[in-house]
């Protein structure tokens, strides 16, 4: 851990906020992507059987 001096709070909170935001957008994208893919495969299987 480098010595951040009196600005430790500022630097650490900036990193924390940014990383949380980045992880959130990546996580949300992946979560929605999985859900949509599963749903599509579900529908595809169904329509494949019927038609």
């Amino acid at each position: 851990m480098p010595d951040l001096g009196k600005y430790a709070d500022a630097v650490l909170s900036a990193y924390a906020v940014s990383i949380v935001l980045l992880v959130a957008i990546v996580g949300l994208s992946l979560w929605r992507g999985r859900k949509v893919r599963a749903e599509m495969e579900n529908v595809e299987r169904r329509s494949g059987r019927d038609g």
Binding site: L4, Y7, A14, Y15, L21, I25, S29
Partner: protein, 243 residues
């Protein structure tokens, strides 16, 4: 073989499936290397102290906030001119990523500004322009969400994107006229005098690379998701018709 081949959703998906693992891995490597390099192995600035480390997040995020809008503009134009669905969906996919980048730039800027300028927020031209850009992103996403028919939504949002671009640029200069700023000049420019010192420059470049790659990976992935949503909808509509 031309670029337009990838306007075909199937080809686009196949390509992005192949490219995406590389993008995810390389962006993660760049981000980890760049941020660790910047955080642990660069000296403090003699005036800014350790807050200079915030630059490794602030500058790439700000850069991507603008470039994401620019990418949306190009994608919107392609949709208007050539009517490729993938293009419209890519614009849609990029907007939330742009919002996050704008937010990161604004928040890290505020956190940096507090000790350095003595205030979280100042109505400085650059800050204000970013806030306005943020509002444009919000309007764009809200319009996508509000319209049922996907083609209508694509048309309307593309035109909003074009008009919004003109007004965003106008606002940029209007704001410049309205208030002189606190914000320093460009951190990266071809002008050597204005540039940041080399110790900060190289890790910063790595971080920018990481952000660009992350943006590309996210947009490809999210575009794929949007394509699947449309396919699901089309299949379900056909089912409903058959039944």
């Amino acid at each position: 073989m031309s670029l337009w081949e990838y306007a075909n959703p199937v080809k686009f998906l196949a390509l992005s499936e192949r490219v995406m693992p590389w993008l995810w891995v390389s962006s993660a490597v760049c981000l980890v290397v760049g941020l660790i390099w910047g955080f642990f192995f660069t000296p403090d600035d003699f005036r800014q102290g350790s807050t200079v480390k915030i630059i490794y997040l602030h500058v790439p995020a700000a850069l991507m906030a603008i470039n994401a809008w620019f990418m949306m503009l190009v994608a919107s134009l392609i949709w208007i001119v050539r009517r490729h669905h993938v293009s419209a969906l890519a614009a849609k996919a990029a907007a939330p990523v742009g919002i996050v980048m704008t937010l990161i730039a604004l928040v890290t800027g505020a956190i940096w500004g507090q000790p350095m300028w003595g205030t979280w927020w100042a109505w400085d031209p650059r800050l204000t322009s970013f806030l306005i850009l943020f509002l444009f992103y919000l309007g764009y996403v809200a319009l996508w969400e509000a319209i049922e028919d996907p083609d209508t939504a694509a048309d309307l949002t593309s035109i909003l994107c074009l008009v919004g671009t003109v007004f965003a640029v106008l606002s940029r200069y209007a704001v410049l006229f309205w208030n002189q700023g606190l914000h320093q000049g460009a951190s990266l420019s071809l002008d050597k005098e204005e540039n940041v010192a080399d110790v900060f420059y190289f890790p910063l470049l790595v971080c920018i690379g990481g952000f660009v790659l992350l943006f590309l990976a996210l947009v490809l992935y999210r575009t794929g998701t949007e394509i699947r949503v449309r396919r699901t909808r089309a299949l379900m509509a056909r089912e409903a018709k058959l039944a």
